[in-house]
């Protein structure tokens, strides 16, 4: 699989996803500096987590206006797959590639911990079609602005169109903190209309080794990459 990872000033999960891509696919991704615009054709572009441009103005706002975004939009129009993780999700929304908004966590706390995700019944998507719906994945989050906010109209549209990828879910009935940020309808990740762009707050690249405390991220990424090549 030909893949690329974007790097902005302040990206800090780029190395982790590069390691994940290399370990899983056997081929290192190319690094895509935010000022560059010329890239070979790729199957997948990952926009990693971090604090691009210091989160100035709004998270992802400045990165979303970088030259590399034009290349990403061209890649998407060719049917290419894009995965935005955490700050990458914020960037996809700021660039208008995914809808809605990611606002401050409801409790005003930077939240860094494991969350349980449930895969939703979605449209065909290379990121999810290899996994059973309602499967639970234990993948950590680490963010301050991950509270997905959208109008009722958009929330209904996302649900009816099968574009909600993951929801935070309770593991035990009395868990009142299962949703780490207060997101609308417990949304943790959404898809583009064609299912080939996924934005998610949790970090699958932080759950690919037993030493991380779990390997559900590995399961998710491996199945996604298989489908993207497939």
């Amino acid at each position: 699989m030909r893949s690329g990872v974007t790097i902005f000033p302040g990206s800090n999960c780029d190395r982790d996803i590069i390691v994940a891509l290399k370990n899983i696919t056997g081929k290192a991704p190319i690094k895509m500096w935010h000022k560059d615009i010329e890239f070979p054709n790729l199957d997948l572009i990952v926009i990693p987590g971090g604090f691009s441009f210091g989160d100035y103005l709004r998270c992802g706002a400045l990165a979303a206006r970088s030259p590399v975004i034009k290349s990403i939009k061209n890649h998407i129009s060719r049917g290419g797959a894009v995965l935005g993780i955490c700050n990458g999700f914020q960037i996809l929304i700021e660039a208008g590639i995914l809808p809605g908004s990611l606002i401050r966590n409801k409790k005003l706390l930077f939240t860094c911990r494991d969350t349980m995700l449930e895969i939703q019944d979605t449209i065909v998507s290379p990121f999810l079609s290899g996994l059973k719906k309602e499967l639970h994945l234990n993948i950590p989050v680490a963010h301050n602005e991950g509270n997905f906010f959208a109008s009722e109209t958009l929330l209904n549209e996302l649900k009816n169109d099968g574009r909600i990828a993951f929801k935070y879910i309770k593991e035990i009935n009395n868990d009142i903190d299962y949703n780490p940020n207060g997101s609308s309808n417990d949304i943790a990740g959404i898809l583009s209309k064609n299912g080939r762009v996924l934005g998610m707050m949790p970090h699958p690249e932080r759950a690919i080794n037993k030493l991380h405390g779990g390997t559900d991220g590995l399961k998710f990424l491996t199945k996604s990459f298989e489908q993207i090549i497939g």
């Binding site: 103005l57 709004r58 706002a61 400045l62 206006r65 700021e94 809605g100 908004s101 606002i103 401050r104 966590n105 409801k106 409790k107 005003l108 509270n147 906010f149 959208a150 207060g182």
Partner: protein, 81 residues
């Protein structure tokens, strides 16, 4: 010439920072508040430009970058010397 952009959250958008400030104010005995809203201010110091042009350009800046119009609204004010 300076143009001031005041950005605030639209009605109905959760403002947890505003809520937290309200709670703290209430702890200090300020009980006469319905709610508290936060926002941000951006001051643009223009080169020589007609007021009308500056406002038009500011509006475009707001739509293109400064404001997330999904959740935020803005007001443009001119600061005259």
């Amino acid at each position: 010439m300076k143009v001031i952009v005041n950005i605030s959250l639209k009605e109905g958008v959760l403002d947890p920072e505003g809520q937290a400030i309200k709670t703290s104010l209430s702890n200090l005995g300020f009980e006469n508040l319905n709610d508290v809203q936060t926002g941000k201010q951006i001051i643009l110091n223009f080169k020589n430009l007609e007021e009308k042009e500056a406002v038009l350009e500011t509006k475009k800046m707001c739509e293109d970058l400064l404001v997330n119009t999904v959740i935020e609204k803005y007001k443009i004010n001119i600061l005259r010397d």
